[in-house]
Point group: C2
Chain length 583, copies 2
């Protein structure tokens, strides 16, 4: 069964829960982008994804990419699907009109990429990377580079890569050794090896533009010595540059996307941004790139849920307990959807999907606000939201993608473990999202150690107060969320105090803290969904709301307890030590 | 890196924590099996597994089994490794001496299979299935069948299968349609199709003995109409029987074990046990088969942990927070083992491994006691333990195998997602253990609905009291376990009362109940390990003990809360309904 986007589900969250159309129209560039236009774009995107992108997904996994003497051959159907993607103008949906884009809001692009990832994660990797390269070049590229590359990348005519990782430098980019030597003509000669380069070589576009993190001669050691250099596969006039793919990795999944080992042999390139400011140039698109991965997670979870939900509505095994279900008829066995254990799996994933979507779409809206709001304070608030919420979504949505897809596989029993239904592919594909674009452990440290604690929790408190202001304390669910928000603010203070006594403690509780934040935000999202009245007439959404409260939210207290005990034990051991000193 | 068994870890649990040597020697058949002999068997098993079985694991995954015109070709090295396994007498370790076995305790076989699964899950599937067939035939086979098949199966000269599942009958065996028609000579003609038959066809042994669940003419519908028929691949004199492999499945993992679709075309077979008692004949070995799968889970988790632990002790990335670790030296980056997030993953898996091992080895001991104790009351107690604890271990150990292996994959970052280090194979292989031999959801229902509730929780209470009696309330950790055991007994009563009002409720909380039982038993196991003094001089074990308390055990309160709220909400809704009636 191929994935089919359901635009009506998304529209409900965008239009009713998040009031996105009005918020977007209040931004100058989107004054004309009314609800009808947004809706039309979503319908078109849904059609394109369902009809063109989803059908080639299985070939991406089963045939995969082939490596042959330095060339990479895409899986059957990928070239055609990608060309249709370019022809439809989809890569440039949110790019500026002066770069050949359509100038539409980020939030529409977010939905598009969630669906693309759900339908075909492997193919989606290719255009998924051009947005970062586009943003990076647009902000930091010289006019000459922009003239030559910006529009080609924006429109997807040429694809791009981010060449960061080296064999010994994974999460620790400060260890990067690839060298770039300046030439008299202003260009650079780049030498070194990079691994794990998604789309480092392929046959989807004639040219490939590599953004390579490297070190100039005499650059200081560590991350401050890094620069970013643009190295195209083809130089002007079509000459082949000295950048080559040496092999592609055999991976657990994501076989539709070639993961390349690249060798640069005095390849010609040009500096992007200032020398020594390579990380800063790259990090300009970090929030949108990480949100993109969170959306992949949501999409993959939805793909898994959709398969399991359809299977559970057809497959019959044993009698379900309790009252005779209407679906029984004269059948000897009941639908597995009627069995409580299966129901729990399906409703729990649905709770994650709609809750996480609400938060991810809100983040995409905030990217638009941060870029376009006339009020600098509104831009700042939006930026603060993105900075704090993005690592939470990246980690939590990808974690749930893998674990939730595995739960959905369980619905199929033995049939889930074989290739036939495609569910095991989702589990394998989803696993990588927990690793790339910063491992989930690094997201947790980024959140707590780099963002929450340095200002004593002030920015996080401000975000939590914003969430509180959207609540209505007269509603029971909202009052519960208020209580959790207050606990969370207090928790930040507790950790900050403990961190003075033991700087390792925040690293030890970072994962728990990220989960507590996510669960609170999910509670907020579900309270908003219920306040919008949707659970009254949508049985599936009502079951998901109940599943969230019964089975997802209890983790909040567990994580809170883990953090508090860590802080208390620390206090106790310090008190004991102090007493020892006093004696 | 190939898996290496660590007999010293196992010996500590068996000899010091569980007092296994003395307990075994108290059983008549094992009077001569002293600690020295047990130790020698373990050392030999460790050597064999490490030197012969582990090295061919990668080929099992990468080359896998090939299907060619009805034949299955094993991966390179598998035939030789299996032959060495047979030559070494390993298949018959615990089989009766009169059947060509060595008559050793089940607990030694349990350790052997844990290691085998850790080293090479695919190859281990082959002999893993003969024990069930042996037990089944030994208990229910006619003398003629025993004479012809029992010793061949016991020694592994011929391998065996269990042919249960059909395309429409997975967990619901009552729907089985394969037919067996009696012949004048006392044999049967078997016709039908079976799927998911592990080792249905292969080249490891000349003959394969299929135990086929089927329906005799005029048998009633449902599970009571099922019979068990033995159908060999080769008939006497070597004639090929009419049983054929039609294809093997493409699976997520476990590529070293062929999962066959089998067709029986009037194949010749012989009834095992009574007509209509097929399920009873098969279920004679259910506890040992499920314990076997739990041990696969433990083994796979240990394999994943061993890989991650070794990688974390070599790989350097970034500075670890806190005091300078001794391992830093002049290196620019610290070992990832020094980073709290990695430490947490490793110590948590170790906590699961040693805790689950303690419980699984105790269960294997109880299998020996149930079979051989002179005191019928002791046999009954042991049987009660096996009946109640086996589904808990099957579900919890396999769940942790998959999720813990995925955590261990995370330690490798991007390197974990590629084939290179072999960790992603463990994740893929482990996933199936949550499904086969009864899905984990079915284990939970088996525990709560079929075993705990029918006698009002009496048998479970007795098991919990046995655990309590082994505690020493003057130890703080033991007092904590006592408290949890008491909560668990009370919980059983609460659920039983709620089940009267709503018979669906036990199905809804079965998973949570199973987890609460497992976490309590793990707390018991760790209290025993600590009482044995081992954490004083083993830093790894001390860290694992702390990890268990900090990060594993908090799930106890969360699950308890989920169950209690379900019971309370039910009580509230009934009170409200009653009030409505009163008005």
């Amino acid at each position: 069964m191929d994935y089919r986007p359901r635009p009506e589900d998304v529209r409900f969250l965008l239009n009713v829960v998040l009031d996105a159309p009005a918020r977007l129209q209040a931004l100058a560039p989107f004054a004309e982008v009314d609800q009808a236009l947004q809706s039309q774009v979503l319908d078109e995107a849904a059609r394109f994804v369902g009809e063109v992108v989803a059908p080639v997904n299985r070939a991406g996994d089963e045939v995969g990419c082939r490596f042959d003497k330095g060339e990479v051959i895409s899986p059957p159907g990928f070239r055609e699907a990608y060309q249709a993607f370019v022809d439809g103008g989809w890569p440039a949906l949110s790019a500026a009109t002066e770069d050949g884009g359509q100038g539409l809001p980020s939030v529409l692009e977010a939905v598009l990429y969630e669906w693309l990832s759900a339908a075909n994660h492997g193919l989606t990797m290719a255009p998924g990377l051009l947005h970062g390269a586009y943003a990076c070049l647009k902000h930091h590229g010289s006019d000459a580079l922009k003239t030559r590359y910006l529009q080609k990348i924006a429109t997807g005519e040429w694809l791009a890569t981010m060449c960061l990782t080296e064999a010994h430098a994974g999460s620790d980019l400060g260890q990067v050794r690839t060298r770039a030597v300046p030439q008299a003509d202003g260009s650079f000669r780049v030498s070194g090896s990079k691994i794990f380069i998604s789309g480092g070589e392929h046959d989807l576009t004639p040219n490939i533009v590599h953004l390579v993190l490297c070190r100039l001669p005499d650059a200081p050691a560590g991350p401050k010595g890094l620069s970013l250099v643009l190295v195209p596969k083809l130089l002007q006039g079509g000459t082949r540059n000295a950048v080559h793919c040496e092999r592609i990795e055999e991976k657990m999944g994501l076989h539709g996307s070639p993961t390349c080992s690249m060798r640069f042999d005095d390849a010609t390139g040009w500096l992007v941004g200032e020398a020594g400011r390579g990380l800063a140039a790259m990090f300009v698109m970090m929030n949108s790139a990480r949100l993109h991965v969170a959306l992949q997670g949501i999409g993959l979870l939805d793909a898994a849920w959709q398969k399991a939900d359809a299977y559970a509505a057809e497959r019959r095994q044993m009698r379900a307990p309790g009252a005779v279900p209407a679906s029984r008829g004269t059948e000897a066995a009941d639908l597995i959807a009627e069995h409580p254990a299966v129901r729990r799996i399906l409703d729990t994933q649905r709770a994650w999907i709609d809750g996480a979507r609400t938060l991810a779409y809100r983040s995409a809206l905030m990217l638009d606000v941060a870029a376009h709001d006339a009020d600098p304070k509104a831009r700042e608030r939006a930026q603060r939201w993105c900075s704090l919420v993005t690592p939470v979504l990246k980690a939590a949505c990808t974690q749930q993608a893998f674990h939730g897809a595995s739960e959905c596989l369980q619905v199929f029993g033995g049939h889930g473990y074989v290739r036939e239904w495609g569910i095991e592919q989702v589990v394998r594909d989803a696993r990588v999202t927990m690793i790339y674009e910063g491992t989930n452990e690094i997201q947790a440290i980024d959140l707590l150690v780099r963002k929450v604690l340095p200002d004593g929790g002030a920015a996080m408190s401000a975000v939590l107060l914003e969430l509180r202001d959207a609540l209505d304390a007269s509603r029971e669910a909202d009052a519960d969320v208020q209580r959790r928000l207050a606990q969370l603010r207090y928790l930040g203070t507790t950790i900050a105090m403990s961190a003075h006594a033991n700087p390792v403690l925040p690293f030890e509780v970072a994962d728990d803290y990220l989960r507590v934040v996510m669960l609170t935000m999910m509670a907020w999202a579900w309270a908003r969904i219920e306040a919008a009245g949707s659970t009254d007439d949508d049985a599936g959404r009502a079951r998901a709301a109940a599943a969230f409260r019964r089975w997802v939210l209890p983790e909040f207290e567990m994580r809170l307890g883990i953090i508090k005990r860590a802080c208390e034990n620390l206090a106790l051991s310090h008190a004991a030590a102090a007493e020892g000193v006093a004696r």
